[in-house]
Symmetry: C2
Subunit: 229 residues, 2 copies
């Protein structure tokens, strides 16, 4: 770290807040906690923390996500920075929001209790502290845009997933029904899904074939912009 050469005035707390999305097969959910510090102790909140002087914004986001979920190598993207003067009643804090997509099955029940955290469906959001509800809504909006053109939805599903599961995910994200014939034709025509011989048998007698996302094929194709959905 180089010595600080700028004046020490005008330095500001910078926080990172994480909108963590999960999908349980039915609904799109966000991981919320009860805030563990004053002001606002106990109020519903996103997971967050201050950026340390010797870590980048991205590193802070990874650290904060890890501290709540125990997970690494998670899809994460910077959303927006929130900088209203009085957005945090504890003092001047600028917050850089990140959103993350995790496979909800990877998330341990026990960690939920340790952090007093809960998965909450997006259409049943309680009041959140500060501007966190706005952040969740902005993240949801961004997710909708993004999954339409980028293969990131898979991060919300297990590694092996079925087309009906993928369809349900998109319907949950858009909160709208999607025609399954058009959907599967389009998804498969992108050429980035690898069909497995194995079937998922728990949700129907017939069983649905598993697929995996083929990262390599995708990178070959995606010299910019396939269109999903």
């Amino acid at each position: 770290m180089k010595p600080i050469k700028y004046s020490t005035e005008d330095r500001i707390h910078v926080a990172v807040d994480c909108i963590i999305f999960g999908f349980d097969g039915q609904e799109l959910k966000a991981l919320l906690i009860h805030r563990k510090m004053d002001p606002g102790l106990g109020v519903w909140s996103l997971m967050g923390g201050f950026v340390k002087i010797d870590e980048s914004l991205d590193e802070a986001a990874v650290r904060i996500l890890h501290s709540l979920t125990g997970l690494d190598n998670i899809y994460m993207e910077q959303l927006h920075s929130y900088g209203a003067v009085h957005r945090d009643i504890g003092g001047r804090v600028i917050s850089v929001a990140y959103f993350a997509l995790i496979n909800i099955e990877d998330y341990e029940e026990q960690v939920l209790d340790e952090h007093d955290a809960r998965w909450v469906p997006l259409n049943e959001l309680p009041d959140l502290i500060f501007d966190h509800k706005q952040m969740v809504q902005d993240a949801h909006q961004r997710l909708r845009q993004k999954v339409a053109n980028h293969p990131i939805g898979f991060a919300l599903l297990p590694e092996k997933f079925t087309l009906p599961q993928l369809l349900s995910l998109y319907e949950a994200i858009y909160d709208a029904p999607i025609d399954k014939r058009n959907f599967s034709r389009k998804m498969l025509s992108l050429g980035i899904l690898k069909k497995l011989a194995e079937k998922e048998k728990s949700s129907s007698r017939k069983g649905a074939f598993f697929y995996v996302f083929d990262q390599e094929k995708y990178e070959k194709l995606s010299n910019e912009g396939l269109s999903f959905i």
Copy 2:
């Protein structure tokens, strides 16, 4: 301002840097200055400044834009926050980048000299300080996405503009030729341009009709997403 309740550790300089776009009828340009402070005095740079403790990020962006251009009520949008630990050699500084679209004719030559500023075509960018070149490239990319779906390109043109001018603008933004018949059909079919009786006569003998962007019509239509171009 409420008293600071959080510890004074971990406070960080937060800067705003502005990518200011202009269009001279031919090329898309960015407004660059020679940096006026150490470290990096004299190096090509974006216009920027530290966020003050009692102003929001958006306010800081407006202030900084105004200080360089004298302009108010300018289209401006937050782009991204840049937070690598050593991105600024003068100390730990997180930068929130904003991009602005201005009508280059509104910008006074004299202000250029006062600030040692210059309009530089995007494909002739010199080396810029820190990560500013990345910021310009990210902003250009975002502008491309945005003008495809939102009526913000008009902010780069005079209030009254012709279809050929608008076409040139889009061609400059995408750095690609666009068919003028398809373009004007599509633009006009959106129903957000008002044709004036008056013609622009300086660039052709026949003259091209002026249009103005019809904000009201747009707001009526745009309960989400027209598709431009």
